[in-house]
């Protein structure tokens, strides 16, 4: 049953990927027809003088990956807004504010975990394509993230087969907080006028998480599964002001 569910998840993911690919290709085909009519593609040329100014603009984005994670079989759903300032087209101080929640029950052990809480991350990106005139960005960066949250843990009764007893396990409102750092590598490209899309790989490492004797949190809002260090990804739709 579990295997069948996994396979159906993979198939649905493959179909989604193919659909997205074909949509992307058809969009490019339309542009090809337009080019045959000798209409010159619009190129955004950024004034070299403007590029030397400190303030180059503001990006506001939303993460689509965290919202779509649950659909593809993930244990959590997360939404976040990013605010990024372009300084000299090279340095991008960034603030990420979001809300993460998990309501998960393991199929094998039937252990349930619930949490929902806001989180925040601050950091900086460095754009390696600061000299390029096209509006695409290739960057490395870092983040410091933190969250304060409470979580619920429950399990079916724990059976002691030797002494023939049963122990209940259900805890609500366990308090915790977590701090972490992340290293980020990503791209961001202009897709239409002021709209950009981009993605970033994140290597996240926990600095500290408050444990409880009843058990550590399974999922940390803004960080992900409580594994010490983990790889993550973000997929963003961004608007430039």
């Amino acid at each position: 049953m579990k295997q069948r569910k996994k396979i159906s998840k993979c198939i649905s993911l493959l179909l989604s990927s193919l659909l997205f690919f074909s949509l992307s290709l058809s969009a490019q085909e339309k542009k090809k027809i337009r080019f045959k009519r000798d209409i010159k593609p619009e190129k955004v040329v950024v004034d070299s003088v403007a590029r030397t100014e400190l303030y180059q603009g503001l990006f506001v984005g939303i993460d689509l990956y965290g919202l779509g994670n649950k659909i593809f079989g993930g244990d959590y759903i997360s939404s976040e807004v990013t605010i990024e300032v372009n300084l000299k087209n090279r340095f991008f101080p960034i603030l990420e504010i979001g809300y993460g929640s998990s309501n998960f029950t393991d199929e094998t052990t039937q252990i349930s975990y619930q949490t929902k809480a806001p989180f925040a991350r601050i950091g900086l990106n460095y754009n390696f394509q600061y000299k390029k005139k096209n509006l695409s960005y290739l960057y490395l960066g870092f983040r410091y993230g933190f969250t304060s949250f409470s979580y619920d843990l429950s399990s079916p009764d724990i059976e002691d087969e030797i002494w023939n007893t049963e122990t209940t396990y259900a805890h609500t409102g366990l308090q915790s907080n977590a701090h972490w750092i992340a290293f980020v590598a990503g791209i961001k490209v202009q897709v239409y006028n002021q709209f950009f899309m981009g993605w970033a790989l994140r290597y996240k490492s926990l600095l500290r998480v408050k444990d409880n004797i009843q058990g550590s949190p399974y999922y940390i809002p803004g960080f992900g599964t409580n594994n010490g260090s983990t790889l993550g990804i973000s997929y963003q739709l961004i608007y430039q002001f």
Binding site: T109, S136, I213, Q214
Partner: protein, 160 residues
């Protein structure tokens, strides 16, 4: 045109990541039982030694035999009750000779992981014993959890 294809191609790379991570198999298992470990130490040479021709360990309030006629062993790892805060073990070396060990402890059920489940964690408060073959018991680590480690050194008088 090539530039556009390259640009949008880059945007599709995360789907590959999503595909790889979502198709991972998970290995399930049931709850893990924490065990208290006693290492056997020779009082003469102060080293861990293998002992006994036939050691059977039982506990009060259960019909189960925890260890049955073990021979040449250098340690024993024993379960503790989930619901009580004390346990009595009987170590039978033969039909006539046996020692009794009493432990008192605090306990709390602890969530380890979704796959490994819940394990009872214990903290030993006191240990007492009879002295037929046991010389003494020294506490090395009073915390008992799913990671098995030496909790006690159980000293026996041995001849070289």
């Amino acid at each position: 045109m090539m530039h556009l294809q390259k640009k949008y191609g880059y945007l599709l790379l995360p789907l590959l990541f999503l595909l790889l991570t979502s198709c991972e198999e998970e290995n399930g298992s049931s709850n893990v039982r924490s065990l208290v470990r006693f290492n056997f130490i020779s009082s003469t040479i102060k080293e861990q030694v293998s002992l006994f021709d036939s050691l059977t360990v039982t506990a009060e309030e259960t019909q189960d035999t925890l260890i049955y006629k073990a021979s040449s062993i250098n340690h024993i790892s024993l379960p503790l009750p989930y619901e009580e805060q004390q346990v009595t073990y009987m170590l039978s070396y033969s039909a006539q000779v046996r020692d009794t060990v009493w432990l008192t402890y605090t306990n709390a059920a602890h969530f380890i992981s979704m796959q490994q489940g819940i394990s009872m964690y214990y903290t030993i408060k006191t240990v007492e014993h009879t002295k037929h073959l046991i010389d003494s018991i020294v506490t090395q680590n009073p915390a008992i959890n799913e990671t098995e480690k030496e909790n006690f050194q159980m000293y026996f008088t041995t001849t070289e």
